[in-house]
Amino acid sequence: MARSILTRLLLMIPTFALVMIIIFVLVRLLPGDPALALAGDRASDAELATIREKLGLNDSLLTQFVLFIKATLSGDMGRSILMRAPVSAVIANKLPITIFLAVYSVGLSLLIAGPLAFVAALNRGRWPDTLIRTVFQIGLSMPVFYIGLVLLTFLAAKLRLFPVGGTGIGLFGQLYAMFLPAMAIAFYTSAIILRNLRSAIIEVLDADYVAFAKVKGLPPRVILGRHVLRNALISTVTLVGLSIGNLMSGTLVTETVFAVPGLGRLMLEAIFARDYPLIQGLTLTFAVLVSGVFLMTDLFQSWLDPRMRQ
């Protein structure tokens, strides 16, 4: 097991290297440069030339790349042009909020989807099943920003049950202030998890070993917990892992609508400002986060399904 983890970790190195090379080149292929974005519309050609010189943008691409790799290997991601601060500090400042939102929304999704998937699967074809699937079909078909605005308008602005945007202070403050953004994401994510988990449960319920367990006279609690849930979870875990990976970088819309200052919004700002060091730093961070989540997903799957350990 330890060897398998080590192999996986070593395999991540070429992945990160490839990601860095691709993003280094891609971001420089975009029209416009940081000098233009930084100085804004009013800058004269002479001012732009000065800024480019200061930022080292006049160096050859190869020189820039070598400097960038050297700095990255020594743990220095450079200074953000837009934020005028070290990239690592800028990212470290936003990272907790993004991880919190991702974990919170996936947690809510599981809390919603888990029990309801069981109810739907055990009542296959009957009204509870139809009702649950219909409601969550809406979750799948509505854009997250729209769900967000509806939640904000009614629960926050009209009923004033929650604050309109913001992140709150302290664990409970954060749980309270970020309930609506987490819920907006969870409505969508739980719909996907629910569909998958429901089908998996139905499939497992029809399996011979479940029928055998019933024949053995095991109590339903044991059958559902030990045999059905554990086996049905195998495919769902992959889906949850993918969702967390997505949420690390893909909460841009939610972050904007709910005024949550996370990494998604930061990435958008960085791209608009052509802030090369910040874009590179964020991409590397996302790559590490997503790889980490996928590694944990695999480990959890191996625990659930011994066949995967071989």
Binding site: G32, D33, R42, D45, L152, A156
Partner: protein, 526 residues
């Protein structure tokens, strides 16, 4: 009994009058911004969210009133008859927010920073300065050449005064590192403005606290500001910003979309303000003979550029995009709020017959295709494009859209790889030289990327920059506006106000035409 009731009446009256006259003081104003500041330092403020906040934390030597620079941190100022020496006598009651007094050395330090080309892109604003020296509270500024805009520039954010001692004591090897360290510290002492920065979370929140040593007095004779502080929240989404205001979580929300102005005006809890601004929306037209792909550029013909302007119904655009909260541009080179703006309205008033005649005269073939480059995701740009496509169809012009992000649009403007694209501008200084240099003086930036280059115009601009006689300078600017209007290197669209909505509890907050958010005289009813 009668005497008693009279005394009671007088006491009651005096009580109610004193209540009516009592100046609201205290409280923290909650303000929802569309974008956050990055670094509020007079010389490093590059973006509007930074520039527009500088004057709350720092003070300038002079200040503008009715288009004239008057004393602010100075008790008097004088210009020598040859226009080459400025003598500024500082007030002796100015203190930075930590209580240390402001001296001539701080002024020398600040102006030397502000004109250092290695530090700031704003150095050109005061490039006429040769030396700055101080003796006691008298500061002497000598100029290399007479500069008609120098007094306005000493009222501009980039020349605001910072504390030399704060910079000397700050950690960091370079001026920029020191500035960032001071900004991050959240301690008073670097500025003498009505507030000091007391809290900052990048992209999330920012806090200003009242400077207890501020020198200007309010209506009640006590020092300004009236507020204890201002708390800013960064809420980029327009709809969320409005909801935040409607739910009472913030007292003011800025940059209200024009489509929501009427609705918020009707809200009994709120006051919708449209502050006059120097913001203009226009579209540079590529005037080069050939496009970057080598094809002939029909827009090189001034008659087509004029025809497009005549065919554009600006009032209709104001109604469509701004819902009436704005006006067509009246000067071809600046907003109507900019000093020396000529009122040439209607500037290319809607006249489709004249447009058709000009197109025929220029020999433009029906079906001529032009590309209109807009900002992706901008609803306003999309509306302008759809309207122009219809308005120009009778001329035989086939308008196609190209959507790009802001940095790409900027790059296209620089490289000349466009036909016509949307653009906007707000003045940063209270003088027309900046906007006119940008839009029309070719050496600055290719006349806003259009490639238009007129020797007579360039000569007038250079002459005006050294003209100390106000009447002659105004005449130079009048001529430049006439030349520019005739040459039509732009499609003129409209001027927009700053739309700010606030709770009725808030009084005295203003956004100035240059965009400055002014909180020193703002109050909030407790």
């Amino acid at each position: 009994m009668k005497l008693f009731s009279t005394v009671a009446m007088i006491a009651l009256l005096a009580g109610s009058l004193s209540t009516a006259w009592a100046q609201d003081r205290g409280g923290v104003l909650n303000f929802a911004r569309y974008d956050g500041s990055k670094l509020i330092d007079p010389i490093y403020a590059d973006r509007n969210p930074d520039i527009w906040m500088v004057m709350n934390l720092f003070d300038t030597l002079l200040t503008m009133k009715d288009g004239v620079a008057i004393d602010n941190l100075t008790q008097s100022h004088a210009v020598s008859p040859d226009g080459l020496t400025l003598t500024l006598t500082l007030r002796d009651d100015i203190k930075f927010a930590d209580g240390t007094p402001m001296t001539g050395a701080d002024v020398v330090f600040s102006l030397d920073r502000a004109r250092n080309k290695d530090l700031t892109s704003w150095a050109d604003l005061i490039s006429s300065i040769d030396t700055v020296s101080a003796e006691g509270n008298v500061v002497t500024v000598t100029l290399e050449h007479a500069d008609p805009a120098i007094l306005s520039m000493l009222a501009t954010f980039s020349t605001a005064i910072v504390s030399k001692a704060a910079f000397d004591a700050a950690p960091g090897a370079t001026d920029q590192e020191k500035s960032a360290a001071i900004f991050a510290s959240g301690k008073p002492g670097v500025g003498s403005g009505p507030f000091y920065l007391s809290g900052f979370s990048q992209g999330a929140t920012m806090d200003f606290t009242a400077n207890p040593h501020y020198w200007r007095a309010g209506a009640d004779g006590k020092p300004l500001p009236y507020l204890d502080g201002v708390h800013f929240e960064i809420i980029p989404d327009d709809a969320t910003r409005v909801l935040k205001l409607q739910s009472g979580e913030v007292d003011v929300a800025e940059l209200i979309p024009f489509s929501r102005v009427a609705e918020l005006k009707a809200d009994p809890e709120l006051r919708m303000e449209l502050f006059p601004s120097t913001r203009i929306i226009y579209a540079p037209i590529n005037t080069r003979e050939t496009r970057t792909d080598g094809s002939a550029n029909p827009l090189a013909d001034v008659r087509l550029r004029q025809a497009l302007n005549y065919a554009t119904d600006k009032d209709a655009l104001v109604a469509l995009v701004l819902q009436g909260s704005g006006a067509p541009m009246s000067s071809p080179l600046m907003s109507s709020q900019t000093p020396l703006a000529a009122d040439m309205s209607p500037l290319y008033g809607h006249d489709i017959e004249k447009a058709k005649a000009l197109v025929a005269e220029a020999g433009i073939q029906p079906g001529t295709s032009l590309t209109f480059t807009t900002l992706a995701g901008s609803a306003d740009d999309a509306t302008v494009f759809a309207a122009l496509q219809q308005m120009w169809a009778p001329l035989g012009v086939n308008l196609v859209v190209e959507q790009v992000d802001s940095a790409t649009r900027g790059a296209k403007n620089k490289s000349g790889e466009f036909d016509i694209h949307t653009y906007g501008w707000s003045d940063d200084v209270a003088d027309p030289a900046q906007v006119v240099g940008w839009l029309g003086y070719n050496p600055t930036a290719n006349s806003v990327g259009t490639g238009w280059n007129d020797a007579a115009f360039n000569g007038l601009y250079e002459a005006a920059n050294a003209e100390v006689d106000p009447a002659k300078r105004a005449e130079d600017y009048r001529k430049m506006q006439e030349i520019y209007a005739e040459a039509a290197p732009l499609l003129w669209l409209f001027e927009t106000p700053y739309a700010v909505a606030m709770s009725k509890k808030v009084e005295g907050y203003v956004q100035l035409p240059l965009g400055v958010n002014k909180f020193d005289e703002a109050t909030i009813k407790q």
